[in-house]
Symmetry: C2
Subunit: 216 residues, 2 copies
């Protein structure tokens, strides 16, 4: 792996901002989008369990129906791509076993060799302490994916806007997620900023480093 | 901004893994670490509110005391750096107003011009729907920072290991966070993988793309 010069990383993170106005005429090309989907898939998660499903909303009619349930934010319809980050309704034994099957397949090992790992997950996420709040735990994992996605997009020069101001239940209904066994957590629009977006040139507001980082 | 070739991004994301064994002799140099701290500070958050504090634990004695409350994971003591991600105990009016003061300072605008924005945050996060679960909401923001941090680190060739298996209350006590008004959410070790870490060469396990991404 050839590391990228650290200054490039900071350039990208300073360049990114929560894009309010996307240029509807500028689309992310298929090769670049494919990389961003791969980046989503590669997101780290606790136990590697990947308790998520990413819905890429391409149909303009669906985007138009989502917009009124998103404070009418134009990013919903104007951005090149819209990703809805969802969690499964149940983090249960079948879900865990699907993951263990996948480990066995990818690593070419027997399920018996994963018995200890299975037991650890079972007694934490499925029946143990985390089971009481496993949906919230899954939602946190989704936010790792959101963070990874926004950074990855910036790195390759794609603008994003994270969207928490959406009505998850309306999204579930419009996208038929309930029937699929999933629930909306958050969304993110991706594309290219409009030349008219005044926020693009507004100085980025962050607390002083000494206010958010302490060395102990 | 010069975008980085998408293949470089994927190389970095494929290279990264949850490092189990760090090489204790390899330290992140000061310039690279500074960039990673800046990356943390640049993390996006809802409303831009940055409901977090990042504690970089340098003191070996503190690291040794944290380890037993982290399932004795060696990353806690062996990694070059350890970051504890914390949220403020209260997301309240003073916290919000500190942020508004900062916007006014950075953008050179009057607080009166931010009245609408203040009202929107107030009626959501401070007294509105999100106030009932503002600590969990803040924790989710912290996970954006975690996702951003792990991706940023991989981009510059630094290994990380996210650590959810820690005892937050013990961390709060050892690091004296309660007295500072903060609460531990998650941690992340950073440094360089040991040549002995067999997980470094294990094939990465992810569900098939078609199992986690759907196009609608």
């Amino acid at each position: 792996m050839n590391p990228i010069p650290p200054s490039h990383l900071l350039d990208a993170l300073n360049w990114r901002y929560a894009t309010k106005q996307f240029d509807p005429s500028k689309k992310i090309d298929e090769a670049t989008w494919q990389v961003l989907e791969e980046a989503l898939v590669l997101t780290p998660s606790s136990y590697g369990l990947q308790p998520w499903l990413f819905f890429v909303i391409k149909t303009p009619e669906l985007r138009a129906r989502l917009r009124p349930h998103s404070w009418n934010q134009p990013q919903i319809t104007d951005a090149s791509h819209l990703v809805v980050f969802a969690i499964p309704d149940k983090i249960d034994v079948p879900f865990m076993d699907k993951y263990l099957d996948r480990i066995a397949e990818v690593r070419g090992v027997g399920l018996d060799s994963l018995a200890f790992y299975r037991d650890m997950m079972l007694k934490d996420v499925i029946t143990g302490p985390r089971s009481a709040w496993s949906k919230e735990w899954a939602s946190r994992q989704v936010y790792i994916a959101l963070g990874n996605f926004m950074t990855a997009a910036a790195i390759v020069g794609v603008d994003t806007c994270p969207l928490e101001g959406i009505a998850p239940l309306e999204y579930d209904s419009i996208l038929d997620l309930t029937a699929k066994g999933f629930h909306t957590v958050v969304a993110c629009a991706a594309g290219y900023r409009s030349a008219d977006d005044k926020y693009a040139s507004s100085p980025k507001v962050r607390f002083e480093m000494s206010d958010v980082i302490q060395h102990l």
